[in-house]
Assembly symmetry: D2
Homo-oligomer: 254 residues x 4
């Protein structure tokens, strides 16, 4: 039997603006990364999303991002590690208050968008995030790109980490994601994508964009909830995983 | 010996915009109400203000407000009690994370500006705030206008409350503040203001705007930190209080 | 032959948040009220929406609102007439720059949401808006609730005005809309709604909520573009109007 | 007789947050760059600042920046040239409406902060800005770093441009500003700074950071209004310029 966590970014609506398909997606995933009001979400959406995740017994994580609603946290901001520490802490705290009053546990932290990408490559940003998580609650699990600086920074602080892999993105020989500006960065063949996931989970290997096999650690798979096809992809993954005796649930010890 | 708490709104700077005189004011007050990023303040300012308050051994409180930086939280917003519960909780949680990593206690909550005023008069808003405080941490002290709906809602939830009085505002016979639109709402004579405070603390009485004496409970005095004369007023109060054997410190049992 | 303008609020998307069905709606209406970045929309959305409106030969109007993206401009803000003058002017100017570079005319101004409602009832707010429109360009048409303070203020400034009626709302005997908090405020029967519109256009009359007939001036009909059924309603109106020899186009002389 | 324009960023207050010393500075400068609500300023501040500039007969320019109040427009944002075109146009339009109702002319455009810096080095960003200015009103003067990509892009579009120099920054041999991260980037000796300005204006030369003399075109000098010493520096410049028969006024033909 193999185990794999399936995570999705949720609670990304904002005021009158609705995004995603949270209610359906929550039926199938094991971890929800909940936006904390900086790049998406607001206090009302957070309260509702925590309620829904709890109802479906999905693990709840904070999904802190850059303070940039119009850019959805996808625009790089050149902030100091100290400011990144502060903004991650602020957002975790805000969500933690909301999980606390609903009597449910905050389990993990996964940075969002440009912050996630910058933390994958920059050790100082990675350390700022890992330090904020550690200082707030050292039992929180830190999600990051598999093998990235963020994972390493988390481990160095003594955090339990979850190496994250992407269903629909190709990998470079060094284990980084192929940049979206490259032609072959995305995988559009669902069957191919699903089989690749099975191999990652069972063998810890993936074929990189240049055809070579590389090692990759897969603790949790990211699926994107705001894309219309998200639900279909999730169902295809679930179906294939069942046949392969891969169980969707967290695969780390807390 | 009499005791009185002296509180001030602090941490109201925002990004490149600086406001107030926090470093000086913190030397003289006993409680700091720290803005939480909704009407003023941001994650950096909050971190720095908690650090300064801790250094001066000043009690720290959350100062949640309406989400309205350009209006400084002074514009009424017609929000549901549910949304007010959510936004108060969000802001308390964000500040609590910051006090926690600095190893200092969050002691009280005082709503800001238009939220404070609306909570003084509306029981449903008062209850939403009191409920958020109770659910997050029932040991927090709730600050509100002396004798107001907010104080009563806090007591009904079993919270310790602090009745707040204002140095520079006149009172109506029913104990409410004279509206700022009235000519006689403000007190500009410092000596008169200070003596009035001494009477409130020692006798629990104040002369209302119509000349009649009314009862008033004074647990904490609000001084405004963003006004240039704030420091002078604070020093005048301290001086007078020392002569009258009134000690500036919290006057409630936690 | 009768003429009636059909207007719709468009360009309400914001950053990554998409709202409405602008491309389809623009095929059928005669006037587009374009959000100006304060309550919805942004510089990119505005540029795109003006392009689309121009392509479909739909008249373009500015749709200024309160500065409140999370509340979608639907929350009342207690601002001074002077500030309302300023914020309306700012938003008209921003959109006018965008129409200008696309070589298309800015035709009208219609305030949004809470600002529209407040301007219907408050003469000072109505005057602030009418003055901003007049000072910027006195040839602009001012849209407002039929017979409201806004229409009267516009006329007093010498503006051409367009009396607006609503398909799906009931009227009080005094010509105001029945408050949404009342049970009978909305009309859900489409056939009834359409027939009522025909009578408004042809006879200038409507049956109020109490069953009495009242006079009503209908220059332009508002349909809501962000509701899923908007398109169906528009098509039903068009169909009925064609049979009744009512032509959808502006009915004022510029 | 020599002529030089003296410009300052003004109108940078925001809601309750006050910044700068606009009333004093306006007595001494010839061009005001007015913030347009994206990185600083708001509709009220813009209206008031235009009023003050008009009163002191100071030329008015739009000062568009990135949409980032908390970062004061000083944080780089990786936006497409198309989006930069849109946001510059929006801001110019908003300010133009405000100058128009006050019966005063909009004379120039100068991008702010990170947008200014990026436009100095990136031709595509420079072109987007120059195009927005040209499309809105080709008689507007485009301010940019002396000899930069922005100046060149403006000239290529046929705009009148103003080469801007800085009193307190050192230059590299290639004419760019020494990065603020370098030790010798700032000039703290006022007398030295003033004399350097005189030489720039009269001889079109400056000694670069490596000691070599380079050619530099100086049409307008930037002084920073939000620094406490700004007024002193302006007065020192005026005094020295008077002795040297350099007149502070615009030096381009419209």
């Amino acid at each position: 039997m193999h185990f794999i966590d399936l995570n999705c970014d949720l609670g990304e609506s904002y005021g009158s603006y609705k995004i995603g398909n949270d209610k359906e997606v929550l039926k199938h995933i094991s971890s929800a990364n909940i936006a904390c009001g900086y790049h998406a979400g607001d206090h009302n959406v957070m309260m509702e999303t925590v309620y829904l995740a709890k109802k479906h017994n999905v693990k709840i994580g904070a999904h802190p991002g850059f303070p940039d609603i119009p850019g959805f946290g996808r625009r790089e901001m050149n902030l100091s590690p100290k400011e990144i520490y502060n903004l991650v802490l602020y957002q975790i705290g805000a969500l933690a208050a909301i999980t606390q009053v609903q009597g449910v546990k905050l389990v993990h932290v996964k940075p969002h968008g440009a912050l996630y990408n910058m933390a994958s490559a920059s050790r100082s940003i990675a350390e700022a995030i890992a330090q904020a998580v550690t200082d707030f609650d050292s039992r929180l699990i830190l999600f990051g790109l598999s093998g990235s600086e963020l994972i390493q920074a988390g481990k160095a602080k003594g955090l339990v980490t979850a190496d994250e892999v992407f269903v629909d993105r190709t990998y470079q020989p060094n284990g980084t994601l192929t940049s979206r500006s490259e032609q072959n960065s995305m995988i559009h063949d669902r069957k191919f994508a699903v089989n690749r996931m099975i191999r990652m989970v069972k063998e810890g290997k993936v074929t990189a964009a240049d055809g070579t096999d590389i090692k990759i650690k897969a603790d949790t798979i990211c699926v994107h909830g705001d894309e219309p096809a998200a639900l279909d992809l999730i169902l295809a993954l679930k179906d294939a995983f069942t046949k392969e005796e891969i169980l969707i649930r967290k695969c780390w010890s807390e």
